[in-house]
């Protein structure tokens, strides 16, 4: 099915099931520990052995020798595979660094061996006996030091790198009445999802099955086949539950490759989990950025010139963090300049983490906007309202499909008692606490991806949906069931959903906040086909057939839906594909984030007291699970603002704090009650679901809202995240 014209009325609009805040259908399994995650699937294949991965102890250089003799002789050891046993493996399409093979080390903790043993303890112990000789080389580990060598880069890997210019930025900036010219930085961050990367691999001849934890089944299958030199049809990937991903499980990683290699060497199924201390350096992370922002405005607050240039680093052949993406679209202004610069670093691979681009980009841009508002003597909300645009500023013929940013801000201001904010910072005190409020805009583009599904109707078993879509905590199981229930006119308990298996039709997968809207649109397409098949079997005109309350009706005839399935059932498969609506319209999601903080006047400790997000993101398919997506993202935004930072050892080239004790993420005591409001919106340009993404919108802008609140509380402007107390202490107002 092709979606190439705005959606008209369709069965989803009934909103009997879709749009309802139903509990997750997988909730009982998750809360009882019976939802199976990758490493614990004892039942899928017998005789599983344990693999333990060894990571490189240098960041750059060569391995001169590996002595695995003691490991091989250790109790219980079945096989040892080292990186010297094979040439460098072919890289997956989505990998920058090689996952295994050959003597060259590209980054710290790159996998160099897997030990397979009868038990976990034996494998771990034996891995510690492997002796490795290294010839280290000097590496480039310091983004600031490499900045002069950075080159222009493009957001799309195919396109030639160039600055994006509209009008004459330099001229307009020079003439602007009010100007801002500041530099901001965000550190490297780690996904730190709770479930480590894990895989069970089993061979049957030349056929390989992995039970793994992966957001994008089709990519994983393709890249595992490519890495191991197998035909894709010989690989099956299964990932029904994913214990968090946030972008860290978008790609094939070493756990899958080494489970497969270990299983082949041991002649047995093997399971491998990356240890927590391996994850930060072995896998991917959100790259640090240094962002230069210049804004010029007229005295009335209208922006006349805006420039945003972001520098980040990555391995050779890697890509930039696209932190200027939102600046192209968010505010009006005739004269514009955005550019990405990329330095080569020998740190672990940088890649997507929740809202890549916008998350760090808004941490800078929305602080700059707050600073500009102050220089203009304007309320930060009014400054943003004045600069709203309903069209792509780069191409005024391209309207936003929906843009309720002003409504988000106005509604939020009222709800949050924004009027109580003191315009001058450092004014509000409560005992030892300095209080402040901050606002920032959340913005994230809505992407749509082709997505397929198979839907089956059985006489007694109701409706069954199969798609390789994943549920990484996003609520996919539930919104897919809601979609099928709505389309087929049955109650939610009549729908069964199976996800994450590469033998099911390929879906959009979970990433870039495209999953919810795209995957349900794929289910919609398959259900349209199934409805036609049902109508056809009953001799009904399919345009007239109504699917309501478990019945199919046309004219004065009505048949129980199950009976229409017949003894053998009916199956339909289709996928939703997209035309050029995304080119003709700019599709984006918007939020107003409001934060109140208290900063200890003596110690500089920041506590978040209140948080509100008002979101405009198309139809909300399930307000309960969507709200969870947003509060979770807001929580990660607080982490980004206040604590998250991978500390780089710039001499030895690795992230030092590579576990959950050293890499701090928010805990329960850090997060207040969070409020989320979804504005009424349907977006027929997006898909027949009229929904848009929401899972990443929630993090976009939160960090800046916290930073702006801290400024409002203390009068200290911190432009370099995270805002730890040492950066506040010196500037705090004198204590009483």
């Amino acid at each position: 099915m092709k979606f190439d014209a705005p959606a008209s009325d369709n069965p989803i609009d009934r909103l009997k099931v879709v749009g309802q805040p139903v509990d997750r259908i997988d909730g009982p399994r998750k809360t009882t520990g019976t939802a199976p995650y990758a490493y614990e699937r004892h039942e899928v294949v017998p005789n599983q052995a344990y693999g333990h991965v060894l990571g490189a102890g240098i960041a750059k250089g060569r391995i001169t020798a590996i002595d695995a003799s003691a490991a091989k002789a250790a109790p219980g050891v079945l096989a040892v595979v080292t990186t010297l046993d094979m040439p460098r493996l072919e890289k997956g399409v989505t990998n920058t660094a090689s996952l295994f093979g050959g003597p060259d080390i590209q980054h710290y903790h790159q996998a160099i061996a897997v030990v397979v043993a009868e038990s976990f303890e034996q494998a771990r112990d034996a891995a510690a006996m492997i002796r490795v000789g290294y010839a280290p080389q000097r590496g480039r580990f310091d983004l600031t030091a490499e900045a002069p060598k950075a080159e222009l880069a493009s957001a799309d890997s195919g396109a030639p790198p160039q600055e994006d210019r509209v009008g004459d930025f330099e001229g307009a900036f020079a003439q602007a009445a009010i100007r801002l010219d500041e530099t901001y930085s965000t550190p490297d961050q780690s996904h730190a999802m709770m479930e480590p990367h894990a895989t069970i691999a089993a061979w049957e001849g030349e056929k390989l099955t992995i039970w793994t934890s992966n957001q994008m089944i089709a990519w994983g299958k393709r890249d595992l086949a490519r890495t191991l030199g197998l035909p894709a049809e010989n690989v099956r990937v299964d990932s029904p539950f994913v214990g968090g991903g946030f972008g860290g499980k978008l790609f094939l990683r070493a756990d899958a490759v080494l489970a497969a290699l270990g299983a082949r060497a041991a002649g047995r199924p093997v399971k491998v989990a990356l240890t927590r201390p391996l994850m930060a350096n072995n896998t991917t992370h959100r790259p640090a950025t240094i962002q230069h922002i210049r804004i010029g405005a007229a005295p009335d607050g209208r922006i006349t010139a805006i420039a945003h240039v972001s520098l980040s680093g990555d391995l050779e052949d890697g890509g930039p963090e696209t932190a200027v993406a939102q600046t192209k679209l968010l505010y009006a202004g005739r004269n514009r300049l955005t550019a990405l610069r990329l330095a080569v670093l020998d740190l672990p691979e940088g890649n997507a983490m929740r809202a890549p681009g916008e998350a760090p980009g808004l941490m800078a841009l929305e602080v700059a906007m707050d600073e500009m508002a102050e220089r203009l003597g304007m309320d930060p909300i009014e400054f943003r309202v004045v600069n709203d645009t309903q069209v792509d500023p780069d191409d005024p013929d391209r309207p936003f499909s929906q843009r309720q940013l002003i409504e988000c801000l106005r509604h939020g201001a009222q709800r949050f008692d924004w009027s109580r904010r003191a315009a001058t910072p450092g004014q509000r005190r409560e005992g030892r606490w300095l209080l402040g409020m901050g606002v920032a805009v959340g913005f994230r583009n809505n992407l749509v991806m082709a997505s397929g599904a198979r839907v089956r109707l059985d006489r007694d078993r109701g409706v069954t949906v199969e798609t390789d879509m994943t549920d990484i905590g996003t609520g996919s199981y539930t919104i897919i069931a809601q979609t099928a229930a709505e389309m087929m006119g049955v109650s939610l308990d009549k729908v069964t959903v199976h996800l994450g298996d590469s033998s099911f039709p390929a879906s959009a997968g979970s990433g870039g906040q495209w999953g919810g809207n795209s995957a349900t649109a794929g289910v919609y397409a398959a259900c349209v086909k199934l409805r036609e098949a049902v109508a056809g079997r009953l001799g009904f005109n399919s345009a007239e057939a109504e699917f309501v309350e478990g019945m199919v009706r046309a004219g004065n005839r009505g048949v129980r839906l199950g009976d229409a399935a017949g003894a053998d059932g009916l199956t339909a498969e289709d996928k939703m594909e997209y035309g050029d609506l995304a080119k003709r319209y700019q599709q984006s999601t918007f939020a107003g984030h409001f934060v109140e903080v208290a900063v200890d006047a003596a110690t500089g400790e920041s506590r978040v007291r209140r948080m509100l997000a008002v979101c405009a993101a198309g139809r909300i398919l399930n307000p309960k699970s969507a709200r969870s997506q947003v509060i979770g993202a807001m929580t990660m935004g607080v982490g980004a603002a206040l604590m998250e930072e991978l500390a780089v050892d710039t001499r030895r080239g690795f992230f030092v704090n590579h576990d959950l004790a050293g890499y701090e993420v928010p805990v329960c005591a850090d997060i207040p009650h969070q409020e989320v409001i979804f504005l009424d919106e349907v977006d027929p340009i997006s898909s027949p679901m009229k929904a848009k993404g929401v899972g990443e919108l929630g993090i976009c802008g939160v960090g800046a809202a916290v930073a702006n609140a801290i400024y409002n509380a203390t009068g200290v402007r911190v432009r370099h995240y995270p805002i730890t107390l040492d950066k506040l202490l010196e500037g705090l107002p004198a204590t009483m």
Partner: protein
Amino acid sequence: MTASGHHSISRRALVAGTAAGTAPIHGEAGAQSVSAPHGTPGSPEATTAQISLRVNGQSRNLALDPRTTLLDALREHLRLTGSKKGCDHGQCGACTVIVEGRRIYSCLTLAVMHDGDAVTTIEGIGRPGHLHPMQAAFVSHDGYQCGYCTPGQVCASVAMLDEIRAGVPSHVTADLMAPPQVTAEEIRERMSGNICRCGAYSNIVDAIVEVAGRPG
């Protein structure tokens, strides 16, 4: 390089230390015994310890490598995979179980240290169709997303409310002489040993407040 010799020595030392250090012998399980069985394929030096755990009310006998954590004894040997491994280092709380009435990180303790102990895992708290009120509250408040931290959160919540009832104070308890109250602040403090990277805290607190039966 004599790494393997070195390791076998340290393992025996560890076993000896463990046996001496966990002297309490619980009636039903009998004495902890350490033996070095012969004939285990591929592991001539393997040392195993016989222990008994009372898991969710059932007595379970295990022959374990003494290095096995309580978490791995549950997940890998008893196949009670509801308890999760997020870090294996006592840094996340995903492995929280209740041992002898107290919540602990099961990754941070060896199984041989719990011979005879009563262990309650998430499987013993409730199951689909028969949810514990805390599990039901997590479902209705959407107190989870990916679900990986969830069994640990549920076990911790249940044990945490017992701690408050038993009068155990926390860092945020203002009056150490008065019984601690079930407030949102107390819950947030006491639940901070369980990381939820999905960020469901706001809903988790709501779920616990509901079960505790009084508003924060």
